[in-house]
Subunit: 262 residues, 2 copies
């Protein structure tokens, strides 16, 4: 089973299914989004979407409650309409009270049948905002968390995330985008912590997934980060990184299947 | 003709030719290197190569004269041994006197029959070190320059590079790695300056080459940056970015052919 481990909602859904088809992807782990660069028809429209994305990734903007609600419902609807094609990870806002966080987890993750929580995009120095999420996950069946670790996060933030993970060792933690510029250090940190997984998307060098797969073949996860990446390109990258058929199977789907069907 | 627009010497050369073969690349624009990550057999050896690379890319280390000489001769030998497969760009150190720079250009670029100059990796704030190179290129037939514009360069450095290019409009300037994190701004700057070209390697999102090709189809250049990237992955990325057969041909080789056979 080929599973794209990370993609955001692309509209219309037929476009997303076509991208999966072209890459031979059977299922995609789908995340909500309030940004749709795939619909930008010119450079100006595109810049506007990317500016919103940058604000979100920088943790400067959580979006309004109305935007969150609309994006979450759009996502839930698609995941539930295509249960054979999508596995959902549900979004939960950070910075709320423990009680409000628990209610969001119930509403956006547990009730709609999501299999994990994320993507979390935090500002530098804010990793501790994830503490209630780790705590709630450990109380409700250890759903995996998916955390963006590319820019603007620094190596110090990644280390803070690892420290938090050490306190909640039962909660699987997916290090999204493999630590970005800090990929060598991130691979080394992940080696010491068996509950961590390496997401291979958004890498600017094929050496990063190559080394990740060599060091942690059972914890490396193929993913496209579509629409920011392309499933066929991401799959080709994994297949060029390792020629071993058994390891390819693990990375292209079996590792993720194990993580979401526990 | 499919031309990989940017790759460094990979040893043994058979490994480089095999990577080209697998991607259907007929010719590769080849650059010298003193770093060989492809030969690192374990994580420690790999880290050592990458630390050297980081120092070079950061402009903190030009390498010793002996290392430069050895790397340059290794490169010249390979380019001359496989004239049907490689097109050479020759390295010239920066920060020398005008006279010494001219001698290096003669020795490492003109005499061995190189078709361009680079890769230049500068520290932030040091772009003006390229002024003598632009001047010499404009005096000796306008050989294209290839400048690394990914990290650690900032948008301010890229703007300084564009200002320098405006003073030497006859010299083609290849913006290596498409401006890195600053790809949207870099595409916009390049649109205003017809002597600039966008190298599509080392992008962490397929949106960057997609937009580059959409905006500047006749000035976008397919490249792998091997061994840091993989030719087949890079080619797949271009082919996913545009389905237009004519534009694919331009980006995958014709644009570069025009640039090196003027």
């Amino acid at each position: 089973m080929i599973i794209d481990g990370h993609a955001h909602v692309i509209l219309p859904v037929e476009q997303q299914l076509a991208l999966m088809e072209k890459a031979g992807v059977e299922r995609t782990v789908l995340f909500m989004t309030s940004v749709h660069p795939e619909r930008a028809s010119d450079l100006t429209a595109f810049e506007k979407e990317m500016a919103t994305l940058t604000a979100i990734i920088s943790g400067q903007r959580n979006g309004s409650q109305a935007t969150f609600e609309r994006s979450a419902q759009e996502h839930i609807k698609i995941v539930q309409a295509y249960p054979a094609r999508f596995i959902g990870f549900g979004g939960v806002p950070v910075g709320l009270t423990h009680q409000a966080t628990a209610e969001c987890l119930q509403k956006y993750v547990l009730e709609p049948g999501m299999r994990g929580i994320g993507e979390f995009t935090l500002a530098p120095g804010q990793i501790d905002l994830l503490e209630p999420i780790f705590a709630l996950s450990s109380e409700t069946g250890n759903l995996p968390l998916w955390v963006h670790t590319f820019i603007p996060l620094t190596l110090e933030d990644i280390r803070a995330l690892i420290r938090l993970s050490q306190r909640y060792a039962s909660v699987p933690l997916i290090l999204g985008h493999l630590g970005g510029l800090n990929w060598i250090e991130t691979i080394k940190l992940a080696k010491e912590l068996p509950q961590t997984y390496l997401d291979l998307s958004a890498t600017y060098t094929t050496l990063a997934p190559t080394l990740a797969i060599r060091e942690l073949p059972e914890r490396s996860l193929f993913s496209s980060d579509a629409p920011y990446g392309n499933p066929l390109v991401a799959r080709t990258m994994v297949e060029q990184a390792t020629t071993d058929p058994g390891i390819r199977k693990l990375v292209l789907g079996e590792n993720m299947a194990r993580l979401v069907t526990r």
